[in-house]
Symmetry: C2
Subunit: 328 residues, 2 copies
């Protein structure tokens, strides 16, 4: 039987994303006491990723520094639609092949510890609300823009996870009914238009179509190596194709956030994830669209802010989830 979390004991938290896997030991004050990072390499398949996950957990559990304060709880934030109650990864557009994976049981069986599983953006929303940019907000929508686009919803200060734990899939909201098909099976989703993957794909498409860009040099003519990060860097250096691609993605993101503002009338929208590191070049067009298109009552009520916990949001939030579930 898994033991239960005792107050004050740190939690081992994992943030399993489409691209990166981060692990850490997190204190109940939200401090990261230890940190590990590897690539997810989802293309190597389910088993390889789970083995990497086990290795990271093993390593963190063995760290001397935490011996005095034993770990009894693991909390996993994973990319995809998660059935939190059952501890199952139901579907994950950015972890190909991860359908109905009982990850909680797999980890419980291996380590004999209490395990929680929740969506990564839900975790980051909690992390930012308790220890980051969202402190004190009443109703907050967190949008993470990275490999995919995810979200987390805080209502009256509490994580809202819906009737089966899957709420917050704001990246899979159709904003272009005639748009491209998304990995999720839906059409014209925000994710397929404004994610890091979409930014890189759009730059590649335009360069392959014959447009010139400084990016070609950056990737040594290996167009397939273009990433959103490289597009953002090129935009900072004034490359006009890159500037344009980012502006277009920011416009899509803005349209999606106008929708969320009209639906939720939140006091805060926080934008996190790797792509959000672009900063004001991404956030200012979003703010402008919200001012121009959302209802004034809602536009005036909302602050649109960058996330503050950076890459730690997921692990900190996963730990917060475990702390708060355990104390209930």
């Amino acid at each position: 039987m898994p033991k239960t979390q005792e107050p004050g004991m740190p939690v081992l938290a994992i943030d399993l994303g489409g691209t990166n896997m981060r692990a850490g030991i997190i204190s109940d004050k939200g401090e990261v006491l230890a940190r590990e990072y590897t690539l997810t390499r989802a293309d190597e398949g389910l088993e390889a990723v789970i083995n990497r996950l086990f290795t990271a957990i093993d390593h963190l559990l063995s760290l001397k520094a935490i011996r005095q304060s034993p770990i009894s709880t693991i909390s996993i934030a994973a990319a995809g639609v998660i059935d939190t109650r059952q501890g199952i990864i139901n579907a994950s557009p950015n972890l190909p092949g991860w359908t109905d994976v009982p990850l909680r049981r797999l980890i419980e069986d291996k380590f004999k510890l209490k395990v929680f599983l929740l969506n990564d953006a839900n975790a980051a929303a909690l992390g930012e609300h308790r220890f980051g940019a969202g402190k004190g907000a009443n109703n907050l929508i967190y949008v993470t823009v990275s490999t995919g686009i995810g979200g987390g919803i805080i209502i009256d200060g509490q994580l809202y996870s819906g009737s089966s734990g899957g709420a917050g899939e704001v990246g899979h909201m159709t904003i272009d009914i005639n748009g491209p098909k998304c990995n999720c099976g839906n059409v014209g989703c925000l994710e397929v238009l404004a994610s890091g993957t979409a930014i890189a794909a759009e730059a590649m498409r335009r360069i392959r179509g014959g447009e010139s860009s400084f990016l070609v040099k950056v990737v040594d003519s290996k167009i397939e190596n273009i990433t959103a990060e490289k597009v953002a860097m090129a935009a900072e250096q004034g490359d006009s194709l890159a500037v344009d691609v980012i502006a277009k993605a920011a416009g899509y993101l803005g349209v999606g956030i106008v929708n969320l503002v009209n639906i939720f009338n939140p006091d805060m929208v926080i934008i996190g994830g790797g792509v959000s590191k672009i900063g004001d070049r991404l956030l200012n067009p979003v703010r402008q669209l919200v001012s121009a298109r959302a209802f004034p009552l809602m536009a005036q009520a909302v602050h649109i802010l960058p996330a503050r916990l950076g890459d730690d949001a997921g692990v900190i939030g996963a730990a917060v989830f475990a702390f708060e579930q355990s104390s209930q």
Copy 2:
């Protein structure tokens, strides 16, 4: 000073829509003890509508049947973005000219009674949840399709009205980024594509463009007299243009509801409003789109049902709001 609502006393409730104004005396069991109806005639301007509102209130207050149980509370559900706390109609795409109207104060001053003001779809959501199709639902999204498209959000059994009382504007969610401009200032909104107004406009556009339809006869060649109701009737009789127009609107509505299902993971979506009287011809395509496009975890969790309170949802819900606010 307005008196406060005593338990068991009925509430005088008004549902002020873009097309219809309904008023009633509602018991704390959700029964409609008296009922009044007039057209809103918003085109006659603010003052004319407010005078009609005063007349309806006067008449209901004078009804013999309720003398024994005096009315101390009026609750108004109005179409538009409502600042519930301040009692102000902030903006109303379907009540032209209604910008920053302090309706609560106007009615308090006139009748010296306690007055509540909330969004009409929020009210209907509450009504359907407490006394209609939504009884027992935990997380429920109510979508009303009539002159416009509005919505109400029930989270954990409670009305969620956002940080300034404006939440639930699901009709003003962009689903077609290249779509037509909406009255609200946003672009490609669900409302401008799938509302009753949109259905009528699309039928008119196609008939004026030369397509033939049984509708031309129905309106005696006065194309401008086509309404969504008439399109629905023509569709029932097999008119192929009408069938097509309804199918297209149902498709848009389905896309919007897929978005809401992915975002909220609700256990219930209720579709009300005049246009919902179309029934399965509207609801079945919505259900099919949710099955096909929403995440399976969410699609399996949600029941998509027609509203049950019909035209009374708004007044019953407005009364529920007053009862529950007063008892807090």
